[in-house]
């Protein structure tokens, strides 16, 4: 459970191959690790074909959980790309207030386990809003209820946004200062220079760590099962407690996560190679 178990760590940036050496472009054909994805898919298919009871039944039962897991992961990922950019720019701001707020955000959020944060968003935040409703006499707030999925996505984005901010910060800092200076000396504003010159270059640098974050997020999304979201993990637990066959259930659930993460890793790898080729 990547982020949940590990202590806050610095994002690692890849060794950059800055010079384009003709003839050394990585090949664009599929890399060999796709076979691993195929192998796991094949294994699942064998289970489903030769032991439809219980495996086919389990799959039927958890399939809406797979949809939830994928949806929560994708939505959270897109949102945290935005939050991370704002946080990263804030960490580089010369404005004291903006810098302090974003630094506090990054440092505090990274120091609290994701599971604790998710539980807090689910149990504590609605209660706080209800209290505020009572205090201000607003019935709308007093009866505040939120969809668990919404709170779970907020929790994931809030936490991962902090890690993402540091990735953006490191990526932007890795672009030579002269790029910003050249853009500014041509009359571009700070934001024009960021948008057209610095961020496009930083994005290539941070692509691998962002890909890793996506995979970590996919795995950590299983934590939302604790806060009433019926994702793959929660549906697996429900099935296993009804039918008392934990071995088969958790074997299949683990294999399903594995297919998704291995597949994502291959896609990330492919995008990385493609952008490096276009450099």
């Amino acid at each position: 459970m990547g982020r949940f178990m590990s202590a806050p760590d610095k994002p690692t940036l890849p060794e950059e191959e800055l010079d384009h050496i003709p003839g050394s472009e990585p090949s664009t054909r599929m890399d060999a690790w796709w076979w691993l994805v195929a192998l796991v898919v094949g294994f699942i298919a064998l289970l489903l074909i030769f032991k439809p009871d219980p495996f086919w039944n389990i799959l039927q039962f958890v399939q809406d959980g797979i949809v939830i897991t994928v949806t929560v992961t994708l939505i959270s990922f897109v949102l945290m790309l935005g939050i991370g950019m704002i946080g990263g720019l804030g960490r580089l701001s010369t404005n004291r207030v903006i810098y302090t707020i974003s630094t506090l955000y990054v440092e505090l959020v990274r120091g609290i386990p994701l599971l604790v944060q998710l539980i807090a968003w689910y149990f504590a935040v609605p209660v706080i809003i209800q209290y505020m409703g009572k205090a201000t006499g607003s019935p709308a707030l007093e009866g505040f209820q939120a969809d668990p999925i919404v709170l779970a996505v907020i929790g994931l984005v809030f936490c991962y946004g902090a890690y993402m901010s540091e990735i953006y910060r490191a990526g932007i800092q890795s672009i030579p200062k002269g790029q910003m200076e050249a853009a500014r000396s041509l009359g571009m504003t700070y934001f024009q220079a960021m948008r057209h010159v610095v961020l496009p270059q930083a994005f290539r640098v941070i692509l691998p760590p962002i890909g890793n974050e996506f995979i970590a997020l996919l795995k950590d999304s299983s934590l939302v099962s604790v806060v009433a979201v019926a994702d793959l993990t929660r549906r697996g637990r429900e099935y296993s407690s009804m039918h008392f066959n934990p071995i088969e259930v958790w074997l299949l659930v683990a294999l399903l996560y594995l297919v998704m993460t291995l597949f994502s890793a291959r896609v990330v790898n492919w995008i990385e190679k493609k952008t490096r080729f276009e450099r």
Partner: protein, 245 residues
């Protein structure tokens, strides 16, 4: 000087405890080419960077083309009038040569794609590399990159061009091609402020040479006079070092 395009008055600049500029005053006329020389750390780059506000300064005033460099609002206005060429080229490495030349025209000058492209093609011809438009900067030689950088600055139709040691990162055989472009520019009447120790270029193009030392302008004179009979001992010492190369 009547109606200078750059008016610098008693500018002071500190980096923490380091005094980079100590009361620099300088007027530069329309169409004038001024070369700044001086030992490392004497404040040449800092002065140049103050002119387009890449550095802020603590005291004094700078006016460019009648626009005082004070409020934030004026800075982009001034930068549009002032082109800058850096020692390390600083081409946008993710963009092709053509896009390097077009980007600021599009977003700063709001030119149409076609107009920006025509301007870029004209300038690439002018700096002698019309066939490199679709290459990335990394595929060009240093001399070619610096000529693209000059073209990129010219694309904004600046009134003034600043050059900070434009040839000191280049191999000797490439220095000439860059200096030729600069010389042609000087002949066209561009106002230029150049930090460079290239004697040949200075003699051919500069009306005035300025010698800076420890954040101050120690002396200024036409190239022949400053190079042949410097007034100050510091200037003599410095010149004997660079002339011996």
């Amino acid at each position: 000087m009547a109606d200078p395009i750059i008016h610098i008055e008693k500018v002071y600049k500190y980096f923490g405890r380091v005094q980079a500029l100590r009361g620099v005053s300088l007027d530069i006329a329309h169409g004038e080419v001024v070369v700044i020389v001086g030992p490392s750390g004497s404040g040449k780059s800092t002065l140049l960077r103050c002119i387009n506000r890449l550095e802020t300064y603590e005291k004094g005033s700078i006016t460019v083309d009648g626009i005082p460099l004070d409020g934030n609002r004026n800075i982009n206005a001034v930068r549009r009038e002032v082109g800058m060429v850096f020692q390390s080229f600083n081409l946008f490495s993710h963009l092709t040569v053509m896009d390097n030349l077009m980007l600021a025209q599009r977003v700063v000058r709001n030119r149409s794609k076609e107009e920006a492209r025509q301007t870029a093609i004209g300038l690439l011809n002018k700096v002698g590399i019309p066939d490199k438009a679709d290459n990335k900067p990394a595929q060009l030689s240093g001399g070619q990159q610096q000529r693209v950088a000059i073209a990129r600055a010219l694309a904004m139709n600046p009134e003034v061009m600043l050059f900070d040691e434009p040839t000191s990162a280049l191999d000797p055989e490439m220095i000439k091609e860059v200096l030729e472009v600069m010389l042609a520019l000087a002949r066209e009447g561009m106002t230029m402020v150049v930090v460079s120790h290239e004697m040949g270029f200075t003699r051919a193009a500069a009306k005035r040479v300025i010698f800076m030392d420890e954040g101050q302008i120690l002396e200024e004179a036409p190239p022949d006079i400053l190079f042949n009979s410097p007034k100050h001992e510091r200037t003599k010492q410095f010149l004997s070092k660079i002339l011996s190369h």
